[in-house]
Symmetry: C2
Amino acid sequence: MIQKLIENIKKTNAPIVVGLDPMLSYIPEQIQKTAFAEYGETLEGAAEAVWLYNKKLVDAIYDLIPAVKPQIAMYEQFGLPGLTAFKKTVDYCKEKGLVVIGDVKRGDIGSTSAAYATAHLGRVAVGSQMLTPFGEDFATVNPYLGTDGIKPFLDVCREEKKGIFILVKTSNPSSGEFQDRLVTGAVGEHGTDGKPLYEVVGEKVAEWAASCMGDTYSYVGAVVGATYPEMGKVLRHVMPKSFILVPGYGAQGGKAEDLVHYFNEDGLGAIVNSSRGIIAAYKQEKYAAFGAEHFAEASRAAVVDMIEDINRALEQRG
Amino acid sequence: MIQKLIENIKKTNAPIVVGLDPMLSYIPEQIQKTAFAEYGETLEGAAEAVWLYNKKLVDAIYDLIPAVKPQIAMYEQFGLPGLTAFKKTVDYCKEKGLVVIGDVKRGDIGSTSAAYATAHLGRVAVGSQMLTPFGEDFATVNPYLGTDGIKPFLDVCREEKKGIFILVKTSNPSSGEFQDRLVTGAVGEHGTDGKPLYEVVGEKVAEWAASCMGDTYSYVGAVVGATYPEMGKVLRHVMPKSFILVPGYGAQGGKAEDLVHYFNEDGLGAIVNSSRGIIAAYKQEKYAAFGAEHFAEASRAAVVDMIEDINRALEQRG
């Protein structure tokens, strides 16, 4: 699937991913009305609104982008109907030829991580059948539990040719609280590295990545926030074979100029995410002229601008 | 909800929780046959088998225990039908008066953590309605993203009087890979603590806990594995007002004697989980005489033995 991601990026000349993270407050009133008219003000109604919104968005932008990243929390908040909308969105985006990154940030002890890996990237045995539970192409994974929480994902990635992005340095303001701590070794060890934890995690990602190689890049990527560009520059070198999924561009404050060092010399190796900045573009002054009824066209314009912004920065890098 | 947990523990004299983590391989063939006969070898069939199994288990043990902890990964692996079985299990256990700890290990940046908190502990606004997505009483949470990933959970806990257990030191073999690293401060700071990361996380849990107090214990608890008793002893003192959820007893190797220091002097403050050791008891030599058809009675016997084992150790502690 890493090959397909690379092919899609080359085809579209767009190293970006659109985060499908719908909030009801983003969804134009007319769509909500249509959904509530059919299902009432219920979880089903909310999920239908989300699905109608996503479908229009995807129809308007799928030819411009290589991948989408639905954030499952935004669907989970609408319970089972919400997760049904998640699954419909995954399936629809795959039909449209997009790579689907399930932003699920799962991670647990071994046998439980195996179940999560199966749920999102694999197939489950039921009697004599092998069935696909959610079927994303990539998933995001939390590393706090260490290697035996990651290994089941690696096994499924190899078997299914899927991929993961492991949280290394997240984009949020307090990500440094634990991730930036300087570490000096483990209990009972004498280590004097003095490296920040995110770098230690990055080194493990590089190890895991080496064990799961595609043709040029690994099935194992990393998440590094756009909001910490100096750390991104270091981590690029720590994990040379990993694609970096970069959240935090746009709404969270990350700028294209800051992101050029997340890419390798081949122009690949990073994929920059924008969620709200694209899917709720019509709420920004810049795209307000489209109006709520043309929200999807506003999103298309925002995608065009984002691609231009990032490619311009990449061309200008030293 | 922390009050209800304490009441339930006192009523049953059982500081334990049963992990409802069904694998198809645990489910007696007769139940699988019944489910597959109705739904075929499909995700729906697997989910029905899980639900039939859970219901029999809960019916057999609910009067002995204060709480259950369904591990959502085991349901997610069967896709949407699996999550429907999760929701049915949550609802059924609540009907039976049990406290339900959703073992979901969620955690993300602020707005996304807010959606997860809503999904599992809160209510979501849909038009003029406030609806309950999954409705567990507690959820487990991953701290890797720091305070702004935790705060939305605290807000929902206060509002709904629900609770969380934050991963501090997990029970798995490689948990030390990052959690045991000695840390000395953050980048740009001069700190010379030299404490392991789990202790730093524990100190943050104590802070968060202090901001979310029930009558005697906080809404904010911690997860500390039974497999690291020395660390559990330290963490008990670091987080005096937090209940400790203790996985790793039984199948993973934790012994009752090792766990007494996870409790406070009041005999409260910890709740010991067993999953496979209870729900698949009939597969152990000790309970094999029950046979697969009486698996639920085997589980009841295993619950009685576990309660006795832990209470005996607590009585004998110095």
